[in-house]
Subunit: 312 residues, 2 copies
């Protein structure tokens, strides 16, 4: 227990193993450079520190006690039938709140202040005053009131927005109007902006589908910084094409990378980004893990512990 064997694997981030050693991470740290190397090493691993590892590679992880995800999403791990229930899963929480909230407000403000149009006018050397909107008194609905949602609420307050929130248990102390997860239609119908910060679970998969989209205002904007699968992508394309909603800011998708022939790239009112709202900074992730390894060795509760039944 005092010197657990740790296998580190994230394609393209081989430096993380070195960072851990520089930080004097306890344990024996071994970096896998390829999925083959990972599969070869995993039978001897007590701890795995990784990201988006193909589920079948865990088949022979007989000594595995704990997997620390390098990010916030753990749906691939939670749904992996090859992982015995005794394997603990932890994810990185609290890291992403402020970064994702910055991204959301970057896009919200760019939208109301019409920055894309301003850039076009600049390219044309055109001085043409244009009417702009404001976030003030606009209604923002935040689906998911975890660490990301909390940061969004805080920033929305600074812009004097009216804040609605939806969560498993309503949180009326946090928002101006609180909804539970069976009140989606009521929640969305008067929103100017719907921000989705939800993980994908059995309950959230496809929850933003035709019905929810139809209930929204035609000038509403959807922003998804949670997981792509929470939105039914085909229903979203339909809603955008028929003008049921005005636009969408999408950082996550059902399939990533978004295929280059996907219709979303060119749909008016749609803003695409390559899953960058919450950056995973190697050093931060390593620091978080080292702290957790120390807790593990001291048999203290781990940060970011995932309830595998609940799914996050």
């Amino acid at each position: 227990m005092a010197h657990p064997r740790i296998i580190v694997y994230r394609s393209g981030h081989e430096r993380i193993g070195e960072i851990l050693k520089e930080m004097n991470c306890p344990g024996e740290i071994i970096t896998a450079r390829t999925s083959e190397e990972f599969e070869e090493l995993v039978p001897s691993a007590e701890i795995v520190f990784g990201w988006k590892i193909p589920p079948h590679l865990f088949r022979h992880a007989r000594q595995l006690r704990w997997i620390q995800s390098m990010g916030a999403g753990v749906d691939d791990l939670v749904s992996n039938p090859d992982l015995p229930p005794t394997v603990m899963i932890t994810r990185i929480v609290d890291q992403f709140g402020s970064s994702i909230a910055e991204f959301v407000f970057a896009e919200l403000l760019a939208h109301v202040r019409r920055l894309d149009r301003l850039r076009q006018q600049q390219r044309d050397h055109r001085w043409e005053p244009l009417a702009v909107g404001t976030l003030r008194n606009q209604r923002i609905g935040i689906a998911g009131l975890g660490s990301i949602g909390q940061e969004l609420v805080r920033k929305a307050r600074a812009f004097d927005m009216v804040v609605y929130g939806l969560s498993r248990e309503p949180k009326p102390e946090m928002v101006d109007k609180a909804f539970s997860s069976d009140q989606w239609i009521l929640f969305v119908q008067s929103l100017d902006y719907l921000v989705i910060t939800l993980p994908v679970t059995e309950k959230t998969r496809g929850v933003v589908g035709q019905q929810v989209l139809q209930a929204m205002k035609p000038d509403a904007l959807i922003i998804n910084v949670g997981r792509g699968e929470v939105i039914n992508q085909q229903a979203l394309v339909d809603a955008l094409t028929t003008g049921q909603i005005a636009g969408a800011v999408l950082d996550v998708f059902e399939t990533e990378p978004l295929p280059s022939d996907n219709i979303l790239w060119d749909l008016p009112g749609v803003r695409i980004s390559p899953h960058i709202a919450g950056p995973s900074i190697d050093e931060y992730v390593a620091h978080y893990f080292v702290n957790n390894v120390e807790r593990y060795i001291n048999q203290e509760p781990l940060n970011g512990w995932v309830d595998r039944q609940r799914g996050y």
Copy 2:
């Protein structure tokens, strides 16, 4: 006094006179449609409600007691030798704080989150993760701590920025570090972002010149939402061209509209907008004025009263 004659003049905004009547504004309201009409009408005016009226048109304003500006800037009125010192000037204050602060944060967030690059990638259907920055712990310096500066401070707090402020009298209770108007060099030298909200006065004209620009960090960004004349525009172009600073977001200029052959339109790192950070909404402006007319008739102090010595 109970029924003052009010001349309303703003080219392109003839509707304001109608709005005033709908709001039951006291007094006799007459709209001038052209500068000639204004010059003809002004000798009988007790009150003028206008915007950017050529100074020489006030030469025959013999009965004039009060000019209400339709905006926040009154440098043209304060510096007008044809206006007797007995004419009161008022400007619109408090209206612009939240709108200008939204504009500033739209541009700050677009900058750190690299929205322009994201848009280019979307046009190319290119899925390419990119490193982004954060406003968190970045140092923002706000020059001018009036109603606009206050809103900027509030929003900067919500983004966990370190806030420096410069004002005539230092305001240490408002910011993390307070400077007076003779401490420009000290103020700017460690800033990541310098936001100028200052009016143009004898003391601020050209104050951001070669010396101040040289003291700044090479990765710093300047944002001007005050008045163009506060920056020495040629010195700014030099600083941008030689890499003394990284960029500038400019909503105001020495000459407006910015001539279409001005070098600033195409300079890398420069973002141009046509003086739209603080929109002047006709209804809001009219409402503000009606309230002031009632105060005028009741001989109460006017909102937005300008100290003509101080210049704002």
